[in-house]
């Protein structure tokens, strides 16, 4: 189990986001790394850490980082 903050840190690390401070309200489409490679990485991250299959079309429907966390399921995160 990881906290939401740990998940966001992992998201930033794996997508190599350098110039933006990523918060729950950050809009995914504003991130340069949020392209098809970025989607592939996040699908893998979610599968490895939450044993959950999400699809690229699931991801395209999301607006914010918080939406991604809710898609995974807020209950699957440890409380901070």
């Amino acid at each position: 189990m990881m906290t939401k903050k740990e998940f966001i840190d992992l998201f930033v690390e794996e997508l190599e986001i350098e110039n933006t401070v990523v918060k729950p309200e950050t809009q995914l489409n504003e991130l340069e790394a949020w392209d098809s490679m970025g989607h592939m990485i996040v699908i893998g991250l979610v599968s490895e850490n939450f044993d959950l299959k999400i699809t690229a079309s699931d991801l395209k429907a999301l607006q914010s980082v918080d939406d991604l966390i809710n898609k995974i399921g807020a209950e699957k995160f440890e409380s901070e």
């Binding site: 190599e16 350098e18 392209d35 490679m37």
Partner: protein, 252 residues
Amino acid sequence: MNQFSLSGKHVLITGASSGIGRQCAVSCSESGATVTLVARNTDRLKETESQLNGCRHFSVAQDLSELDAIEDVVKSTVKKNGKIDGFIHAAGIEGTEPITLLNAIKYKSYFDINVLAGLEFSRFLTKKKYCNTSYASLVFIASVMGTLGQPGKIAYSASKGALVNAVKSMALEFAGKNIRVNSISPGIVLTPMTENLFASLDADSKQAIINMHPLGIGTVTDVANACIFLLSDAAKWITGTNLIIDGGYSAK
């Protein structure tokens, strides 16, 4: 500015203590690059280092079958010599064994060095924190045996063929970062590794192999020159390809 120069570039080379890897190190340094050498044997690394042009070079003694150590090699290389612009995976093992003598453990030893070590280096050194993206170029030394066959070469061919095709997918994954990825497939060149091979053959078989190469057996410099080209900005539109350098062997 000479497009074919490696001036100002930092190139990491595996298998740099002998053969093709050693010549790549020497040739890259002569083309202006700063070189980081990685190989298992400390003494032979020192010997390579003594042949390099310039002084900012750096060696890491590491057995590449210890795949878990590779991230630390990349990390310490960047700390010491700055971000990486080029990579040559010249480390490799070769052997001539028919299938009856092969087994899963032996296949794995070919794949660990020839394929997995190269892929693990690629995983880490393409990260923005380790690599000068928009200029970087990765070169994998495969073999004509990666596309052609020969009795006794099942394990070697399988590993080199894996490399040739992994390069294509890597080229596509890294294109967004402007990192180019290519392989080079040499025919037989004279190295300590091929001297071992020749030593195991009778004179007729040896001559038969030489005769398969219309331009004769190659030299390590022939291969190193092609590496320099692929690492240089002159090759900036070349990615996902396999450059065959075999004196005409595969043209037959």
